[in-house]
């Protein structure tokens, strides 16, 4: 059941007007730059530093518990990282200036038009996460590197190449945005087919061509639509709509791409590893992950990569193969593999929700103190600097995590059934695989 939100004039006006989005963007950009500053110049104690607390606790909580599950790529529509580069690329901050960009404006190479690079960048960040999450200076370096890389890529390549092909966060937001109950779609595809100039893709005096290099008329899933609202501004036929819809609407159409399948494994596996590493009682595992360059860290690196790129996909492939045999399916194993990997999207999302609940509720108290004393310099701006650390809502944590994981499995089973119907393969072995993964996650969290 789809319901068009842009049918309300106020909603449409707010989304079409550049100012509301720009105001949010500027607040985000200010917060982002402040996080970098506090990382470089503030206290090296992570849980007392604004950069660490606001990026990895506050922002992460909002992103994974609210923004991604309910708004899909909603965060991408207000993310400040591409802004400076985009302003330079366009030679304008607000409306199109009407002349062509002065920079190279190259097309991104065809061979790299996939999310393998995003898989790589996320894996790299994940491998160093113990250091990034806890060391303000390293967080600042990573954030600064992202913004400078985005600027550099905007100078060389057209549109938002960084967001679409490099950003480690964008990759998994895109994957999980398929499950969100919000979408941007065209109202009537026939209108797009007869539209001559395609201003939604090429731009017009009313707005820029799709920064995400997507032709809205061909949109069938949320993965690569950044919800920037440019097409809403440029479409001369008012043919763009923002709709609410049932959860996981896109997942009824299983993916055929191996890069997207591996993104699902990376996210699922990383959530499991993090649950053990950050929330478990194993000090040697934490130290191994933190001691970058040491022998134990190399052991961690190998185990991380083998688990995510070897063990999980191999077990999953085995499950799909059994399903193929049970169904005497004629579909190629690769096709079944990628189709069923789509069913891991809800499971992975709920693994992250369950992990983040624990991580966020036990560390949220730091938000109050770092708000008043962002640099750890002894300030008390809002009178909250002395609020002591204390975990919050830990009594309902286990039931919430259980609900998230059991609900995620139910959701995955339903998605696997749809994928199975597409490729004519029994989903039962994939459901068994997902159940085993969920039980393992329960063991790590509870």
């Amino acid at each position: 059941m789809h319901y068009e939100l842009t049918r309300f004039p106020l909603v449409k006006a707010l989304l079409k007007n550049r100012w509301p989005q720009m105001l949010v963007w500027l607040v985000m950009l200010a917060g982002f730059l402040f996080a970098i500053l506090s990382g470089f110049f503030g206290t090296p104690v992570g849980n007392r530093n604004f950069g660490i607390v606001f990026v990895w606790i506050a922002w992460w909580a909002v992103l994974i518990l609210v923004a991604v599950p309910f708004f899909g790529r909603g965060w991408c529509s207000v993310c400040p990282i591409p802004l400076p580069g985009e302003w330079l690329q366009r030679g304008a901050i607000m409306n199109p200036p009407g002349n062509k960009p002065k920079w190279y404006n190259l097309r991104w190479p065809n061979k790299l038009r996939n999310i393998w690079l995003q898989n790589l960048t996320f894996t790299l960040v994940a491998l160093f996460s113990s250091v990034i999450l806890t060391t303000p200076k390293v967080t600042a370096i990573v954030l600064a590197a992202m913004i400078f890389l985005a600027i550099g890529m905007s100078m060389v390549f057209e549109r938002r190449t960084f967001c679409r092909y490099i950003c480690p966060v964008s990759g998994f937001i895109g994957l999980y945005a398929q499950a969100a109950p919000l979408e941007l779609r065209v109202k009537d595809k026939q209108v797009c087919l007869t539209c001559k100039d395609k201003p939604c893709y090429n731009g017009s005096p009313a707005g820029y061509g799709c920064p995400w290099d997507v032709f809205p008329g061909g949109l069938t899933k949320n993965t690569y639509c950044g919800l920037c609202m440019e097409c809403l501004r440029t479409c001369p036929y008012e043919n763009i709509a923002v709709n609410t819809r049932p959860f996981s609407d896109d997942l009824a159409k299983p993916s055929t791409r191996m890069d997207e399948a591996f993104k699902a494994f990376i996210m699922l596996g990383a959530a499991m590893i993090y649950a053990g590493e950050f929330l478990g009682p194993w000090g040697s595992l934490k130290l191994a992950a933190y001691s970058v360059g040491s022998i134990s860290w190399f052991g961690y690196l190998v185990a991380f990569l083998v688990f995510i790129f070897g063990l999980l996909p191999a077990l999953f492939l085995g499950a799909v193969w059994i399903g193929n045999k049970l169904s005497q399916a004629t579909a190629a194993l690769k096709k079944s593999f990628t189709a069923f990997a789509t069913s891991l999207v809800p499971l992975g999302l709920m693994f992250w929700v369950a992990f983040s609940l624990s991580f966020v509720l036990t560390n949220a108290a730091y938000i109050f103190s770092s708000l008043s004393d962002p640099f750890g310099w002894g300030w008390n701006l809002f009178g909250t600097a002395a609020i002591p650390w204390q975990p919050i809502l830990t009594t309902i944590l286990l039931p919430l995590q259980t609900l998230a994981l059991a609900g995620g499995l139910l959701w995955t089973a339903s998605t696997a059934r749809k994928a199975g119907s597409e490729v004519k393969v029994s989903p039962v072995p994939v459901i068994v695989f997902s159940t085993a993964a969920t039980v393992a996650m329960l063991g790590l969290l509870l």
């Binding site: 104690v45 992570g46 849980n47 007392r48 113990s130 250091v131 806890t134 060391t135 590493e277 950050f278 929330l279 478990g280 009682p281 194993w282 000090g283 040697s284 934490k286 130290l287 933190y290 049970l326 169904s327 005497q328 399916a329 004629t330 036990t362 560390n363 730091y366 650390w389 204390q390 975990p391 830990t394 009594t395 286990l398 039931p399 259980t402 994981l405 059991a406 609900g407 499995l409 139910l410 089973a413 339903s414 696997a416 059934r417 199975g420 119907s421 490729v423 004519k424 393969v425 029994s426 989903p427 039962v428 459901i431 068994v432 159940t435 969920t438 039980v439 329960l442 063991g443 509870l446």
Partner: protein
């Protein structure tokens, strides 16, 4: 949704409620005094997992081997702080069953927020309930919507 599926759906919800809330037989063990010596160092407790019976009087002797560390016990809300080389004691009655994390509550270094241990009071019944609930969740779709793809004739 058909009437049959509604009935199955309601049955599944009821089964889930039974799994979560049904009282389980408790093996009564007379309360005893339990003392644990825990060494705290960046960023681990040794031992990191403690198991006691419900009703036991638990004393934790926390010894820090490097910097100042603390121990805060989730669910019980009690805590203790140990200076390097000093032994600090925390005594409480384990009157709540289940699995509880304990954490360092004195900033002790980079990985401080992740310095975690676990106290097990009685069997971890919530974990077992959660596992059974998960298996039930896995069965819902195959039972409620059994029209899985049929095997094709060779």
């Amino acid at each position: 949704m058909s009437k049959k599926k509604w009935i199955f759906g309601v049955l599944f919800v009821m089964a889930g409620a039974v799994i979560v809330f049904a009282p389980l037989p408790v093996r009564a063990t007379p309360p005893t005094l339990r003392t644990f010596r825990i060494e705290a160092s960046q960023f681990a407790y040794t031992p990191a997992v403690l198991a006691v019976n419900p009703g036991d009087t638990v004393t934790i002797e926390l010894v820090s081997t490097d910097v100042v560390h603390g121990l805060y016990l989730d669910g019980y809300g009690v805590s203790v702080t140990a200076d390097p080389g000093q032994t600090a004691r925390l005594t409480f009655i384990a009157d709540k069953s289940g699995s509880f994390r304990f954490r360092c509550n004195v900033t002790c270094g980079a990985l401080h927020p992740f310095m975690i241990g676990k106290l097990q009071v009685g069997p971890n019944t919530w974990l077992w309930r959660a596992i059974v609930l998960t298996i039930l969740a896995a069965l819902v779709i195959p039972i409620l919507r059994p029209n899985l793809p049929r095997a094709r004739a060779g």
